[in-house]
């Protein structure tokens, strides 16, 4: 556990006034506050440091203790313990961080020196909603094709969620009440899950539509016929028209991706034909092609 220079975090000199501290905190908070930097983990981390520095330096008692022990805070803590043991008095509690903070919002250094993020500043017992949690869930495209359940471990608790078919890459869903517990009886925060979808199929997806390129041999392209192609969950027979050209697109209605939260509704599947020219022709085949070319 390393010493944290709270003055440095706020960009202040040791002799900064209470007004300087307030100004510096506000200025940095405006830049790094999580409300202004949603989903920015780095900004969130910096804000926690700024917040912690402000918690210590804006409170005269805390600041005094911090200034007194400074880098020797470990010894200071021992000294405090000895004092407590002697008199059973002078307990440093009494702080109450109001904005729904919990001990995880403070560094180990802070917790060691000041005993965590609980106590009372002004003695208010305001109800505060718990913090929201953000999580990322990796899915394969084939998983996102069907409504299914998954168990997630969030802050040591297992929760089972239903993932509706058709979720998009980058989409975020809210699971109400599964964030951090509220303070003083306030409601729990929410859990936001962002999906990161890996394509493990030969199809490309855009919204609810799927796209695939299918190889077609020259003879089928010229003469037409019937082919069987894979969709994401089954196989379908497809009639190929005679004289099909390279790059011809065919739409298979309702064979695409499920539409999010719309029961039994699907996008379309677009097939593009790629005509393969035969190679390693025999003499006889070359002869026939030559004949064809003359006809």
């Amino acid at each position: 556990m390393e010493f944290i220079d709270y003055y440095k975090i706020l960009g202040l000199a040791k002799n900064a006034t209470a007004e300087d501290i307030k100004k510096a905190y506000r200025k940095l908070a405006r830049k790094h506050h999580p409300d202004l930097n949603p989903n920015d983990k780095e900004a969130n981390k910096i804000f926690q440091q700024i917040n912690e520095a402000n918690e210590v330096l804006s409170d005269p008692e805390n600041r005094k203790k911090y200034d007194k022990y400074g880098k020797e805070w470990k010894h200071g803590e021992e000294y405090e313990k000895a004092q407590k043991a002697q008199s059973q008095q002078g307990n440093y509690a009494g702080r109450n961080y109001q904005e729904g903070a919990n001990e995880e919002d403070f560094s180990q250094f802070f917790s060691s020196m000041f005993g965590g993020g609980n106590g009372s500043r002004g003695g208010r017992q305001t109800k505060f909603r718990g913090q929201d949690f953000n999580a990322e869930l990796q899915l394969n495209l084939t998983d996102a094709f069907k409504t299914h359940q998954q168990t997630l471990a969030v802050n040591g608790k297992n929760i089972r969620i239903t993932i509706p078919a058709g979720v998009e890459n980058g989409q975020t869903i809210k699971i109400s009440g599964h964030g951090s517990p509220g303070a003083n009886g306030g409601p729990n925060g929410d859990l936001y899950i962002s999906f990161s979808i890996t394509n493990n199929s030969k199809f490309k997806r855009e919204g609810n539509n799927l796209y695939a390129t299918i190889d077609l041999d020259l003879y089928q392209a010229v003469l037409g016929g019937e082919i069987t192609i894979d969709t994401l969950d089954s196989k379908v027979k497809l009639k190929v028209n005679p004289e099909t050209q390279q790059g011809t697109k065919v739409k298979l209605k309702g064979k695409g991706f499920p539409i999010y939260k719309q029961e039994a509704q699907f996008g379309d599947l677009y097939i593009t034909y790629s005509i393969k020219i035969p190679t390693n022709l025999t003499d006889k085949q070359k002869e026939l092609f030559t004949e064809l070319s003359k006809s």
Binding site: R30, L36, R205
Partner: protein
Amino acid sequence: MENLVSANEFCINHQIEISFISSLKEFGLIELTTLEEVLFIDSNELQKLERLLRLYNEMDINMEGIEAVVHLLKKNEDLQTEIIRLKNRLSLYE
């Protein structure tokens, strides 16, 4: 009534003036419901209201500033959604 929170109660709990809530309404930043001349906040608006309160209290941002911040955050959110949409579309050509 189940989903409504009295604006007065909210203000007492958060130790703020009711004028703060009224100003947010005037700026079109939150929606309030009036029932028998009593102001209520829809519980769905609470999260947004608490965020606006933090902007006001913790960052010392005035009402005009909050309005600009909310506008820019919305714009940012829309752009993020657009980026995701475009990235997904780009993957078609990769």
